[in-house]
């Protein structure tokens, strides 16, 4: 089982978290040469270091997690504040 040191929560199993998508889409500029379909669906799913949003359901806290999608190594986790 994989664990990580989360702020506020301490050491937790990553299976306790619900991951949300990593991309936060910027509003589309229709003047650009890109279709709305491409804007909604296109992904760049190659191994990389990315920032994701994870939800810890029991504490109801959102975290911003930096993770390598090739090795599953977690680099950092910080509490997501508004």
């Amino acid at each position: 089982m994989k664990f990580f040191e989360f702020p506020l929560l301490g050491t937790r199993a990553i299976s306790e978290f619900v991951p949300a998508h990593d991309d936060v889409l910027e509003p589309i500029n229709l003047a650009d040469n890109i279709s709305a379909g491409d804007w909604v669906y296109e992904r760049d799913s190659v191994p990389k270091i990315t920032t994701e949003f994870w939800y810890h359901s029991t504490s109801q806290i959102w975290f911003k997690v930096e993770r390598n999608t090739g090795t599953n190594q977690i680099y950092s986790a910080e509490v997501l504040r508004e």
Binding site: K2, E42, R43, D44, S45, P47, T69
Partner: protein, 413 residues
């Protein structure tokens, strides 16, 4: 170990012919280069040679034949999909599977078992009815059955699921089957190789070059190949290949895990799937119970299996079959699944001339092996999308013309 196999271990002059060629050097040019020597890539090579007479073909693989998702699935074959496009496509696949042992002169251990998708609540039952109606309309044998009929087919099942999520009915799909996945890849390799196709294992593609006319070269550590036609058939690594030609797709990679138990006496004659419990189960001809679960929740480009998967899956399986509590897990593994937003594949032509995609196979690739090979071969030979795969083209995302198959996924995602 069989005596026949043991005998060959001591015979220096090996009597069994190699099933496929293993050329050491690449030729300078090929008519078609197929990336990925799994079932799909090799099936395409076979049908290119058999149906269209195109034999100057190289199949490249970074590892060995069938070592990717072809050898990592749970070998279930079915056509009880939700959309007419999906149902027609997979129905043709089953028809090809039924005759494949004869066609390839290789026993693929095709075994028709019937397939039960359990419904534990009203909404699942509603989707089951929908699928049954679409299937029946297209001549596929699927029907919604009562819990009693599930019990008749599988007397060992505990329909009350240990007190929660009792089985309320099921979608029964008579043509549901299993086959040996390695044999499918080997059979296609043997047949394609006999017709002149070259199979280069341990030959990764590191780059694809283009010019004004489209695809021009494929770069490998063994040398550069000149070609005007490339097919990407690399389940789990499609985005890495499409990046080489500057195409973006909606594909995201998630691990899908599976496991088998130790061999036990035959007791399960059918295939049991439960989307609500995130599990599916069948018994192989060797007696092992082949089990799988839902996708892992996070994008990950890795084939490492996890302990959480086994404990979570066993927990769900034991709700339905408590008598299995003493059976041991023998092996577990993971594959990387190309997931698409609509749970349908991405096949056919692309914006880059000469570059074809056979991708987006998520958790539904093995069952499509023969028909994907046949339709992709036709698409490559004619440079026109085969009628059966027109709705699976990459441009459907640009046009918001998706093929919604999520309701027909075997397990929850």
């Amino acid at each position: 170990m069989s005596m026949r196999l043991l005998k060959y271990a001591f015979i220096e002059d090996y009597a069994e012919d190699n099933w496929f060629n293993t050329p050491s050097d690449l030729k300078a040019t090929y008519d078609v280069v197929i990336i990925g020597a799994g079932g799909h890539g090799l099936a395409c090579a076979h049908y290119l040679a058999q149906d269209h007479g195109i034999t100057n073909v190289a199949v490249l693989d970074s590892s060995y034949i069938g070592g990717g998702n072809t050898g990592r699935n749970t070998t279930i074959i079915r056509s009880n999909y939700l959309t007419p496009d999906g149902v027609k496509f997979y129905d043709q696949s089953i028809k090809l599977f039924k005759n494949l042992s004869c066609e390839l002169d290789t026993n693929i251990f095709f075994s028709e078992r019937g397939h039960y998708t359990l419904a534990h609540n009203t909404s699942t039952l509603r989707t089951a009815r929908w699928r049954a109606e679409v299937n029946k309309h297209l001549g596929i044998k699927s029907e919604v059955v009562s819990p009693d009929e599930v019990l008749r087919a599988c007397p060992e099942i505990q329909l009350d699921c240990g007190g929660s999520q009792a089985v309320e009915g099921a979608l029964y799909h008579e043509p549901g089957a299993v086959a040996r996945h390695d044999a499918v890849a080997w059979g296609y390799a043997k047949s394609a190789s006999a017709r002149g196709v070259e199979i280069h294992q341990h030959t990764p593609v590191t780059g694809i070059n283009t010019d004004a006319q489209g695809i021009s070269e494929v770069v490998t550590p063994k040398g550069v190949i000149k070609t005007r036609t490339v097919l990407s058939a690399v389940a789990g690594q499609t985005p890495s290949i499409t990046k080489m030609v500057g195409i973006k797709t909606p594909i995201e990679i998630f691990p899908l895990q599976a496991c088998v138990t130790e061999p036990i006496k035959p007791w399960l004659n059918t295939i049991i799937v439960s989307g609500s419990l995130h599990m599916y189960l069948s018994q192989s001809s060797r007696g092992e119970l082949v089990m799988g679960a839902a996708l892992d929740p996070m994008e990950l480009h890795s084939r490492r299996s996890t302990f959480e998967f086994v404990t979570g899956l066993c927990d769900q399986v034991l709700d339905l079959f408590p008598f299995l509590s003493g059976v041991k897990i023998n092996r577990q593994w993971a594959g990387m699944a190309d997931m698409t937003p609509d749970f349908a594949p991405i096949m056919g032509t692309t914006p880059v001339k000469g570059f074809f995609l056979d991708s987006g196979w998520g958790t539904w690739g093995f069952k499509a092996t023969p028909i994907s090979g046949k339709t992709m071969a036709n698409t490559i030979a004619t440079n026109l999308n085969d009628p059966l795969i027109q709705s699976f083209n990459l441009d459907r995302f640009k046009n918001f013309n998706l093929v919604g198959e999520k309701g027909a996924a075997a397990i929850g995602h």
